[in-house]
C-alpha cells in the first residue's frame, strides 16, 4: 500500500484551489446536508455554535442547499464499488488535503458565515482503521486546538474498529455511514469489498452509544456527549431493482430500531458503463421526491410503511403524493369534521401538514372553524377541501366518487418532474419550529 501514500504526496502538490474543486466534486453525491439536531451555545472568545433547526447558507444551481463544507480528505480509494464516482477503477483526477488545510478552510469559511460547519468524508486508504483515524484527527484538531464549536459531521468508515467509532462521536455532532444499496444482494453485486455487516454493525454500535450517552447525561450533566445530533444514512435509488416498498420498509426499521435521525435518498446518476448498472436516461428525481414524502409520513404523520405500500402495490404512485394516494384508497374514512376530529386524523388529510394541523387544533378551541377561518389560518384547501367538512358543510362542493376525485386531484397538482427533496420545505416558512425535522 505504500504506493498509495506516494500518490497522496503527489496529490497534495497540486494548488489548493484545484484540490478543493476535485474533492468537492467527489463529495457532492453524498446528499446529507443538514446541520440540525444539535443545540450548543457559543463560548466567549471562541468560534462557533450550533442551532437546533440547522441553517442553510446558500443553494447551488441544482437547488440543493449548502449548509456544511462537504469535502473529502482524499478521493483515493482502495475499494471498487461500482456505483461510486471514486471507485478505484474510475479514471478521475485524484487529490488529498492535509489536516491543516481542512482546518484552515473550515475556520475561515465559518468565520465568514459561509457554512454551519464541516462534513468530512473520505475514500478508504490503507485500511478502514487508518482512514477513520485520519478523519478523527481533523475533528480533534478543530475541537481541541482551534476550539471550534460549530457543527461537525463525520463519516464512519465501514469496518472501522468500535473504539474509533466511539471516539468519532465524541468530537462530531453527527456521524453517518451509508448503506447505499437497500439489499444484501445488491451490495454483494456492486460493492463486493463492503459486506453488509461492515455497515450495519457500526450503525448498531452508534445506536447503543447514543442511548448510553443520553442515559448518562440524565444522571450527570458532566457526562460526555456522543454525537448529539445522532446518526444518518443514505440509500441510492434506481441503481438496483429494489421496490419502493423494500426501501420504505428498510427505512422504517432504521428509524424504529436504530433510531436514525434521517435516511437520505439519492437518485442514481448514471456515471459508469459497468453492465451491472442500469442505463438510465436521467436520474429518477421524481421517485426520489416521492420517497422523501413517504419518509416524512413515517416520521411526522404517524403512518406505517405497510399502510403506504404492500405486496400488491410495491411502488409509490408517481402521479400523487403518497398521502393523497392513501386517502383515495380509504375514501370510506372521509370526509372528516375539521372542528371535531383528533390531531392524528387531521394529519392524514391530504394537503394538511403538521403546522396546519397544529394551528387548526389551537384555533378551534377559540372559535368554530369554517372555510373563511381555515384560509385565515393559512391552511391550503386545494386538496384538503375534498376530505373535510366544517360546521356540517362539505367543503369540496359536489360529492365526487373515487375516480372523479382522482381526476380532480390530478388536474391542478400536476407538477414538473424536476423536483428535489428541498421542495418539501417550501410550504414551511420557519423550519425552526419543528425540531428534528431536518
Amino acid at each position: 500500500m505504500s504506493h498509495i501514500y506516494g500518490i497522496i504526496n503527489v496529490m497534495i502538490t497540486l494548488p489548493l484551489e484545484q484540490r478543493l474543486e476535485i474533492l468537492a466534486d467527489s463529495a457532492k453525491y453524498d446528499v446529507s446536508c443538514s446541520s440540525s439536531g444539535s443545540n450548543r451555545v457559543g463560548r466567549a472568545g471562541a468560534l462557533g455554535s450550533t442551532a437546533a433547526s440547522g441553517v442553510c447558507h446558500t443553494w447551488t444551481a441544482d437547488g440543493r442547499c449548502i449548509s456544511l463544507l462537504k469535502i473529502l480528505l482524499t478521493n483515493i480509494c482502495i475499494y471498487d464499488c461500482a456505483y461510486c464516482l471514486n471507485r478505484r477503477s474510475n479514471d478521475i483526477p485524484r487529490a488529498a488535503f492535509t489536516p491543516d488545510e481542512i482546518v484552515a478552510l473550515t475556520m475561515n469559511f465559518y468565520r465568514r458565515n459561509y457554512i454551519e460547519g464541516l462534513f468530512l468524508s473520505t475514500g478508504v486508504i490503507r485500511s478502514a482503521d487508518y482512514t477513520m483515524e485520519q478523519l478523527i484527527a481533523v475533528a480533534k484538531r478543530l475541537r481541541e486546538v482551534e476550539r471550534f464549536n460549530g457543527y461537525i459531521h463525520l463519516k464512519l468508515v465501514p469496518g472501522a474498529d468500535p473504539l474509533l467509532i466511539a471516539q468519532a462521536g465524541r468530537y462530531a455532532d453527527r456521524v453517518s455511514i451509508n448503506i447505499e444499496l437497500p439489499s444484501r444482494q445488491s451490495l454483494a453485486l456492486l460493492a463486493p469489498d463492503k459486506p453488509r455487516e461492515s455497515v450495519i454493525n457500526p450503525m448498531r454500535q452508534v445506536s447503543a452509544l447514543l442511548i448510553e450517552a443520553k442515559e448518562a447525561r440524565k444522571k450527570s450533566r458532566r457526562a460526555p456527549h456522543f454525537a448529539p445530533a445522532g446518526q444518518s444514512t443514505q440509500l441510492i435509488v434506481g441503481a438496483t431493482p429494489e421496490s419502493d416498498r423494500e426501501i420504505i420498509t428498510l427505512t422504517e426499521g432504521l428509524y424504529k430500531k436504530l433510531e436514525l435521525k434521517r435516511v437520505y435518498y439519492s437518485a442514481y446518476i448514471p456515471g459508469s458503463s459497468d453492465n451491472r448498472l442500469p442505463a438510465l436516461p436521467t436520474p429518477p428525481l421524481l421517485r426520489e421526491h416521492r420517497l422523501y414524502q413517504a419518509d416524512w409520513l413515517l416520521r411526522f404523520y404517524g403512518f406505517a410503511a405497510h399502510e403506504l405500500l404492500d405486496e400488491a402495490r410495491p411502488n409509490l404512485d408517481m402521479r400523487f403524493d403518497p398521502k393523497s394516494d392513501w386517502a383515495l384508497r380509504h375514501l370510506e374514512l372521509f370526509p372528516v369534521d375539521v372542528n371535531r376530529v383528533d390531531y392524528e386524523v387531521l394529519l392524514r388529510v391530504p394537503g394538511i401538514g403538521v403546522r396546519s394541523a397544529q394551528r387548526i387544533v389551537q384555533a378551534r378551541r377559540g372559535t368554530r372553524l369554517g372555510e373563511v377561518e381555515l384560509k385565515k389560518l393559512g391552511v391550503v384547501l386545494k386538496r384538503a377541501k375534498y376530505f373535510l367538512t366544517a360546521g356540517g358543510r362539505y367543503l369540496g362542493g359536489i360529492r365526487l366518487d373515487g375516480p372523479r376525485l382522482m381526476e380532480r386531484l390530478l388536474a391542478p397538482t400536476r407538477r414538473p418532474a424536476r423536483l428535489d427533496q428541498l421542495e418539501l420545505f417550501a410550504a414551511m416558512p420557519d423550519t425552526s419550529a419543528l425540531t428534528g425535522e431536518l
Binding site: 433547526s53 446558500t58 437547488g63 462537504k70 424536476r418 421542495e423 416558512p429
Partner: protein, 254 residues
C-alpha cells in the same frame, strides 16, 4: 384623536402604547421619527413620546403576565416588519391581549391575531434566512464587516445569534436599507443608528483568496444532471444575491 410621535424603536413604541393606555386612547395614531406624515395635519394634537426603558420593560412584564411570552414575541417580530400601519395593528393586538388574556393565542383565526401572526412569521422567516445569508468580510481595520438589505428590521433578531457564533473577532453587520448597524466589541453587541460609509472598507490581503475558494467550491458543488435554477431561485431570490460572494460574477465577460 391623538398622534403619538415616537423614536421608531420597539421600546419607544411600547412607551407610546403605555401613554395611550394611560390616556384612555381608543383610536391613536402612531408616527415614527424620520417618517414624513400627512396624517398629522388632521390630528387634533401630537404627543411626543419619551422613550424610557423602564416603562417599556414594565409594559412587557404586564403583557407577559396577562397573556404569554410567546404572544409578546409575536408582537415584537410583527412590529419589526416596519410595514405601513403595523403600529396600529400591533396596538390592537396588545390591547386585545390585555383584555382577553391567555385566550389571545386561541384567536388565531380572527383579526387582528391572524394578521399579526402572519406578519410575525414572515419576519421570523427572513431573520432565519439571514442567519445563513450574512457574509462577513475581513477588513483592514481589524474586524469582520457584513452588509445586508433585508425587508424587515431583523438586526435585533440575528445579532444575538452572531454574538454566540463569532465570538473571537469584533464584527459589524450593516443594514444598508435602514442605515444602522449591529456592532460587536468582543463583549456585547449594540445597535448604532445613522451609519454612513465614507468609503468602501479596505479588505485584508487574504480576503479575496477565501472568497475565490468559496466561489469555486460553490460552483463545483452543483450536480449538472440535477440542474434546476428555478428551485435555486426559489430559495435564493435575486434580491439576496447582491451581497453573496458566491453569486458575484468573476469579472470575466462571457
Amino acid at each position: 384623536m391623538t398622534t403619538y410621535h415616537y423614536d421608531g424603536s420597539f421600546e419607544g413604541f411600547l412607551c407610546a402604547v403605555t401613554d395611550c393606555l394611560e390616556a384612555g386612547e381608543a383610536q391613536p395614531e402612531f408616527v415614527r421619527n424620520g417618517i414624513d406624515h400627512t396624517v398629522g395635519l388632521f390630528a387634533s394634537n401630537i404627543r411626543e413620546v419619551v422613550t424610557v426603558r423602564g416603562r417599556a420593560v414594565a409594559f412587557r412584564k404586564r403583557f407577559i403576565e396577562a397573556v404569554s411570552q410567546e404572544a409578546f414575541a409575536t408582537a415584537r417580530y410583527a412590529f419589526h416588519s416596519q410595514k405601513p400601519g403595523i403600529e396600529l395593528l400591533v396596538w390592537r393586538y396588545l390591547t386585545l391581549g390585555l383584555q382577553v388574556g391567555g385566550r389571545l393565542c386561541l384567536m388565531l383565526a380572527e383579526e387582528p391575531v391572524c394578521s399579526v401572526n402572519r406578519i410575525a412569521r414572515h419576519v421570523s422567516h427572513e431573520a432565519h434566512k439571514y442567519k445563513g445569508f450574512v457574509r462577513f468580510r475581513e477588513v483592514e481595520a481589524g474586524f469582520l464587516y457584513a452588509q445586508i438589505e433585508p425587508e424587515a428590521d431583523i438586526l435585533p433578531f440575528i445579532s444575538p445569534h452572531f454574538v454566540g457564533r463569532v465570538g473571537d473577532r469584533p464584527w459589524m453587520i450593516h443594514d444598508l436599507c435602514r442605515r444602522q448597524a449591529a456592532l460587536y466589541d468582543l463583549k456585547s453587541w449594540r445597535l448604532v443608528r445613522e451609519v454612513e460609509l465614507t468609503a468602501e472598507p479596505t479588505l485584508t490581503a487574504t480576503e479575496q483568496d477565501y472568497a475565490a475558494l468559496w466561489q469555486r467550491y460553490f460552483q463545483r458543488h452543483a450536480i449538472a444532471e440535477r440542474h434546476n435554477p428555478k428551485l435555486q431561485q426559489k430559495h435564493v431570490p435575486l434580491r439576496y444575491r447582491k451581497h453573496l460572494p458566491e453569486f458575484e460574477s468573476s469579472g470575466d465577460p462571457l
